[in-house]
């Protein structure tokens, strides 16, 4: 089974928001909802400031609380290892939305839970997720960690990385690498 991961090189995010809208268009995400976002965090006082721009999305956790919380198995681990939602099986109970510690899911107006799929439909065509494809800063890097020569594997070998809310024990597959910013996520 592949181990798809996204590595986010925080330093290279220039906050252009191309990922946010590319994702929306690619996945026909309804108005007022998003599957990914860019978070801005500022520390310090004028003029001694630091800022981090950070893309956030579904972490496709290895230990996914959303799967555990789902009463109908609509939220499930797909054959490719990613966390997916079967909208037909979903009864719209929103338990998964509450269970996700990352605020990565929303309730689709058509009555089911929805979130980032890692663009699994594109992966099947050998393409990268839409957000990665369009990322101006090449801050989002995607690949299979099982492939030793993949860019993601190399990046995670070379850099210290962190995940969001590590203490939650969810074992996310979205990793953040950064050089300057020392704050926690």
């Amino acid at each position: 089974m592949p181990k798809y991961v996204m590595v986010i090189d925080v330093e290279k995010c220039i906050g252009c928001m191309a990922c946010v809208i590319a994702c929306k268009k690619e996945n026909n995400v309804p108005e007022e909802h998003f599957r990914t976002r860019v978070v801005e965090e500022v520390r310090g006082e004028f003029p001694n400031l630091r800022m981090e721009l950070r893309s956030e999305l579904c972490n496709h956790c290895e230990n996914a609380p959303c799967i555990d919380a789902c009463p109908t198995r609509a939220s499930h681990r797909a054959k490719d290892g990613t966390v997916q939602i079967d909208s037909v099986k979903c009864i719209g109970c929103k338990a998964c939305i509450l269970a996700c510690p990352y605020d990565a899911r929303y309730s689709h107006p058509k009555g089911f839970a929805d979130k980032c799929t890692f663009c699994d439909h594109r992966l099947k065509e050998g393409k990268k997720p839409a957000c990665v494809e369009t990322c101006l800063g090449k801050s989002r890097i995607f690949g299979d960690l099982e492939e030793a020569n993949s860019e993601v594997a190399e990046l995670l070998r070379k850099h210290d990385s962190s995940v969001r809310l590590e203490f939650a024990g969810t074992r996310p597959r979205v990793f953040y690498i950064k050089k300057k910013f020392a704050g926690g996520l």
Binding site: K12, I14, C16, K24, F46, E125, E133, S139
Partner: protein
């Protein structure tokens, strides 16, 4: 059944390069009895969500554009699009688009529009134009224009007999840096700028907020350089996104940038950090510069700029140490103060003494490729009166100066201007002093607007002619001067919606009604493009299929070591000391000018860009509006505390002339100096037909009632307005 990309390619090859055609469907034996599967078509074109002109590929399904992506072979996009590029779909399907020609039945500017047919609207305009020509002469029709549509209307107006036009892109935007670079290096720095960011070791940004200003390939290279560990030095009163990537953020006192630039030149010369060989071989006037900057010490500059002398010295040394791979970003919107050209001259001089022009990591050279100009028609234009476009400014650019058109309209000097065409520009949001614009508009006999959306400026028009969007039309080829030369095509990816027409069609049809059909000898614009491609010796079919043709052999980015390189200046060298400027009575080496600072309780109004919007053009775009519905006023948190302002609370800005802004939310932040307020440009639309953008946020241009003019090139300084904060009532 699933259709793979590979299958699609095979099928597409059979259906051929049909552009904007109906979507083919697959009815295979296996699929019999099932609903046929629609196949997407992929059509390349050139984006117009901003003016970087990226190559885009539209994914069209069942006649609808469902996705836009960057064209991988286009150097301006490199397979990626910015947020606005993706948001092109929002423009195409914006329910508020102009859908038919409109004629105002009320008083000037009342926008009491009645729908009209093209024949009626164009007939109305042609009739008025004939009357104006008889009474005042053809030169009394002027054109304010921006973007690709300019080509057709410049042609039409010149054929009609008027030489008068102006583009806001000069005096209100890039003009100053163009003049400064032409005077110094003999050529402008290009658009897109020829910046070798991906190889820069040091990047100096003077108010340029890359990232927030999301020019595609430039942002890509900036992020790459940051990733490779380039030292970024940002001069900005605001802690911009780029400042967040910087090793040195110098929160400079606004209006003092030239002081810092001169002090940097001072240190680099004093400490012998300049590129001596390069300066000796390629420049002239070094000694004069060295002498002139003696007085501009770091200690002096500290008092002007609020930047400690030690930091000025340290950053100058970083530049000197890393020469020539130092990129002093020349900026883009450089219409700041009365000395724009001199400030940009200092940028050019600093670039030159670091040996960074024509060197890796600095400014790369123009590609070597010459194509003969192909005109819309071979017929000569009639003789005309002296044009107004350049005013009295000896270094004004060919694009013309908007405030000269406004001035002549208001004063009838040297002759009356009685009609305006505004094509692709929102005159209320692009030009300062809205009162003057409105007064001038009231003096006209005819105001025609050609645009895609009912922008504020369009609402003033007597006749509105709806242009279709860039996704629905052909336009002239774009010549791209990246590291190598290339040609980019814009072609319709879907048919025009509603009763909208391409700009070229509107100009041609109006020409017909003015008896100027000989100036439009082609039937469709594609006919013209095909003929042009033939003259240029390029394969039109290939261009239409791929969207871009590259000429790799044209690349010559750097001056080779020891090369006897001739610059296009009178001396053939980089003119650090400018004889040309001197001859016209200006300073040959920049001298510092002190500009007024706000008094207690007042703030300088500064403005800039957001990555998800292009001026006022996109504020109503549903796809982009969702990402940023209105602008916010950045206010330093200490000031906010003192005034009892809460974050996100609505306030009103009032300028020195008592002009009140629309309500705008306060962004209380550490990210700005206490003496200025920043808003993103383009918001606060007053057009009720823009249902999403109407009265959302504050309009910077409304508050820019005052402006100053740089006597060298006529460029405008718009950062000279002060505002105070009032609570919203």
């Amino acid at each position: 059944m699933s259709i793979t990309r590979r299958d699609f390619l095979k099928i597409a090859a059979v259906t051929g390069g049909a552009v904007a055609a109906s979507t083919p469907v697959v009815k295979s034996v296996l699929a019999l009895g099932k609903k046929p599967v629609s196949l997407p078509q992929y059509v390349p074109t050139t984006c117009e969500m901003c003016f970087w002109r990226c190559g885009a590929i539209a994914k069209v399904l069942d006649g609808k554009v469902v996705k836009l992506d960057g064209n991988p072979i286009h150097p301006n996009s490199r397979g990626k699009l910015c947020a606005r590029g993706h948001g092109g779909i929002g423009l195409l399907y914006d329910p508020d688009r102009l859908k038919t020609p409109l004629i105002n039945t009320g008083a000037r500017g009342e926008a009491k529009f009645k729908k009209a047919s093209w024949d009626e609207a164009l007939g109305f305009v042609a009739d008025k134009m004939q009357k104006i020509k008889e009474k005042y002469g053809p030169e009394s029709v002027a054109l304010l224009t921006h973007g690709t549509i300019s080509a057709y209307f410049l042609h039409l107006l010149q054929a009609y007999g008027s030489p008068n036009f102006a583009m806001p892109s000069f005096a209100l935007c890039r003009g100053a840096r163009g003049v400064a670079f032409e005077v110094t290096f003999g050529e402008d720095v290009g658009n897109p700028e020829r910046l070798d960011l991906q190889n820069s070791k040091v990047i100096v940004l003077i108010g340029s907020h890359l990232g927030e200003n999301a020019h595609n390939s430039q942002c890509q290279e900036f992020a790459e350089a940051v990733g490779k560990g380039a030292t970024v030095i940002v001069l900005d009163p605001r802690f911009s996104t780029a400042a967040g990537k910087a090793q040195y953020w110098l929160p400079i006192k606004p209006a003092t940038d030239l002081a810092l630039l001169l002090a940097w030149i001072n240190v680099i010369i004093n400490e012998g950090l300049y590129d001596k060989e390069y300066v000796a071989k390629y420049t002239t006037g070094f000694n004069e510069v060295a002498k002139a900057v003696k007085e501009y010490t770091p200690e002096w500059a500290e008092k002007e700029t609020d930047i400690p002398a030690s930091l000025i010295v340290e950053t100058a040394r970083v530049m000197g140490k890393n020469k020539p791979s130092v990129l002093i970003h020349p900026g883009r919107h450089t219409a700041w103060y009365s000395d724009n050209v001199q400030r940009q001259r200092a940028v050019a001089i600093l670039t030159a003494i670091l040996g960074a022009y024509g060197r890796p990591g600095g400014v790369y050279l123009n590609p070597k490729k010459k194509l003969e100009p192909v005109f819309l028609s071979e017929k000569d234009y009639p003789d005309h009166k002296q044009e107004l476009n350049k005013g009295k400014y000896p270094f004004a650019g060919e694009e013309g100066i908007t405030h000269e058109i406004v001035r002549a309209t208001l004063t009838d000097e040297p002759y009356p201007i009685k009609a305006w065409f505004t094509t692709g520009t929102n005159i209320m949001k692009a030009m300062p002093n809205q009162r003057a614009t409105l007064n001038a508009v009231q003096k006209l006999d005819l105001l025609v607007a050609v645009d895609m959306m009912p922008y504020d400026g369009v609402m003033l028009a007597d006749v509105v002619l709806p242009e279709c969007t860039y996704l629905e039309r052909h336009d002239d080829f774009f010549t791209v001067k990246e590291r190598s030369f290339g040609i980019s095509i814009r072609q319709p990816v879907v048919q025009p919606m509603y009763d909208t027409k391409p700009g070229w069609w509107i100009a041609k049809e109006l020409g017909k009604r003015l008896g100027l059909e000989e100036y439009f000898p082609w039937n469709t614009f594609e006919d013209f493009l095909k003929a042009k491609a033939q003259i240029w010796g390029i394969d039109y079919a290939e261009l239409a299929k791929n969207g871009y043709i590259d000429f790799p052999e044209s690349a010559k980015p750097y001056i080779s070591s020891g090369e006897d390189f001739k610059f296009k200046t009178p001396s053939g060298k980089i003119e650090l000391y400018s004889k040309e400027l001197k001859e016209h009575g200006f300073d040959a080496v920049p001298k510092y000018t002190k500009h007024a600072q706000p008094s207690e309780g007042w703030f300088r109004l500064i403005y800039g860009r957001a990555p998800v919007h292009t001026f006022s053009r996109t504020t109503n775009n549903p796809s982009l509006w969702e990402l940023m519905e209105e602008n916010v006023a950045w206010i330093n948190s200490k000031i906010a505390k003192r005034m009892g302002l809460k974050n996100n609370e609505y306030i009103v800005l009032v300028n020195q002339d008592g002009v009140k802004s629309n309500k705008v939310r306060a962004k209380v932040t550490e990210r700005i100096r206490p003496d200025c307020i920043y808003i993103v440009h383009g918001f606060g639309s007053t057009s009720k037909l823009l249902k999403k953008a109407y009265l959302r946020g504050a309009d910077d241009q409304q508050l820019i009632t005052r402006y100053v003019i740089d006597p060298i090139g006529g460029t405008v300084g718009m950062r000279v307005n002060f505002v105070k904060i009032a609570k919203e009532v």
